[in-house]
């Protein structure tokens, strides 16, 4: 095992609680301060591609949570046996297996979602967040910590893409989770009051704009500056 791949080696005291402060931080840090999308700028591709509507985005989030958490645990369990020269291939093989499993499960039990997300489920394999966490954390930490770390990163990813999807679906299709909000609003105020859908929001450009605004708001609040 090569030492330079380990981000931080933490001494775990034997009596540490299951939800100690340090472990809570593993989950909460990636939500805002170390957010994979807005701070580390990873996983942008899928954040643009799947976020036209809330429903497929939610399914995507659940899939990513499943893949990151499980691959982190599996790699962490194997971390002392993985030959360092082929570790990336080993990580990739584990991730690819899990992603294929997700894809097969969706095909069997949620065929509509499988059709809608199609290639993007497969592309979770190339999501930099997954490989990033394996290489930076799971290779050097115990399974339970790795699970929490994966959960944090996946949730950080999920809430951002769900927020992007909320605005894109609302402005682009006039709906939230498929519920036609715009037509309800027109219904209340009469036919003279018509809200038009913004076609730009449906294209990836719309995702860039929303994502940019989220990054802007977040950084102006936290004062984060890139060095």
């Amino acid at each position: 095992m090569s030492a330079e791949t380990i981000e931080k080696v933490i001494d775990v005291k034997p009596a540490e609680g299951l939800i100690s402060k340090r472990r809570r931080k593993l989950v909460t840090d990636p939500l805002i301060d170390e957010n994979p999308i807005t701070i580390q700028v990873l996983g942008i591709c899928s954040a643009l591609a799947v976020t036209t509507q809330m429903k497929p985005t939610l399914v995507m989030s659940i899939s990513v949570i499943f893949v990151i958490v499980l691959s982190n645990v599996v790699i962490s369990l194997m971390r002392n046996t993985i030959p360092s020269r082929v570790r990336i291939i080993v990580q990739l093989a584990v991730v690819a297996t899990l992603v294929t499993l997700v894809s097969e499960l969706l095909k069997a039990f949620s065929y509509d979602m499988y059709k809608e997300l199609s290639v993007f489920i497969g592309l979770i394999i190339t999501n930099c967040i997954v490989m990033g966490r394996l290489e930076a954390f799971a290779m050097g930490n115990k399974p339970y910590d790795s699970m929490l770390d994966g959960l944090g990163s996946a949730l950080g990813y999920s809430w951002i893409i769900l927020t992007v999807a909320f605005f894109r679906e609302l402005f682009g299709s006039g709906a939230v989770f498929g519920i036609p909000v715009y037509s309800y609003v027109s219904g209340i105020f009469g036919d003279d009051f018509k809200l038009a859908n913004n076609g730009l929001m449906v294209t990836p450009v719309g995702a860039f704009i929303i994502l940019g605004l989220i990054v802007w708001v977040q950084r102006s609040k936290t004062g984060y500056v890139e060095h």
């Binding site: 046996t81 030959p83 082929v86 080993v90 097969e104 499960l105 069997a108 039990f109 449906v202």
Partner: protein, 251 residues
């Protein structure tokens, strides 16, 4: 010591075998559910040509199957419009995508008949499958013809990978509704099908052979036009046979 070549090779081999077993096992285990889901999806698409998408959405899978079994019957014909009676040939099992790679003369052509309220003796519309190429990947669908074998009663269009917001809009009910009421034959009885025009926002209600296009998705629209005209021509023998049979019955 872990770093020896033998260790790396053995480790990789063992890992490959384990993951391989896991994947093939899960594929085997899930296959029945997947096939059921695919069959159900196909039925939904066929029904989509004759009833609205909202009605289908509101149905449970069991209701879809029941509605399909009660209201749809099917047959398989060849390019000459002759029924294919070979054993094991059922319309639902004909894979259009597979036959698409064969010459038109050798393909099997399924026909689905929609009966209203389960009355098997009366056909309300004939549903034909469509298959072709869009901009990025395959596009397909089902078109329903009324009993005059000329008026389009409805159409469902689906795609594998058209651009969201552009070509992918062929799946929208509003776009598919543009085809309803259009005619596939001109006054001289020539098959002209229906053409989706370039550009969007014009009124084509006076022209029975043209529909409004999709802005920014001309190539997808051309793909739709091609598959509609080619598949209607493959079925033209069957359509004409039905037409003349009805003319005889009408006398």
């Amino acid at each position: 010591m872990q770093q020896s070549n033998t260790y790396v090779i053995v480790f990789s081999a063992v890992l490959t075998v384990i993951l391989g077993f896991l994947l093939s096992g899960s594929a085997q285990f899930l296959a029945p559910w997947q096939q059921e889901a695919i069959a159900l999806d196909k039925k939904k698409q066929i029904l989509g040509a004759v009833i609205s998408g909202e009605e289908i959405e509101a149905m449970t899978p069991e209701q879809v199957n029941e509605f399909y079994n009660n209201n749809i019957s099917s047959t398989v014909v060849d390019i000459k419009g002759q029924e294919v009676t070979a054993e094991g040939v059922t319309a639902e099992k004909v894979e259009i995508a597979k036959f698409y790679k064969k010459p038109a003369e050798e393909r099997q052509y399924p026909v689905f008949m929609y009966h209203e309220l389960g009355d098997r003796s009366k056909v309300k519309s004939y549903i034909f499958p469509l298959y072709g190429a869009g901009l990025w990947d395959a596009i397909w669908g089902y078109v329903a013809l009324d009993t005059d074998m000329n008026t389009i009663g409805g159409i469902t269009l689906a795609h594998a990978a058209e651009t969201p917001g552009l070509g992918a809009r062929i799946t929208e009910p509003g776009v598919q509704a543009r085809y309803v009421g259009k005619k596939i034959f001109d006054e001289n009885g020539e098959l002209v099908a229906v053409e989706m025009k370039k550009g969007e926002g014009k009124d084509y209600s006076s022209n029975p052979h043209e529909v409004d296009g999709l802005s920014g998705a001309t190539i997808t629209a051309v793909g739709v036009n091609n598959m509609l005209s080619s598949y209607l021509s493959y079925y033209s023998a069957y359509i004409e046979a039905k037409n003349s049979a009805q003319a005889v019955a009408g006398l």
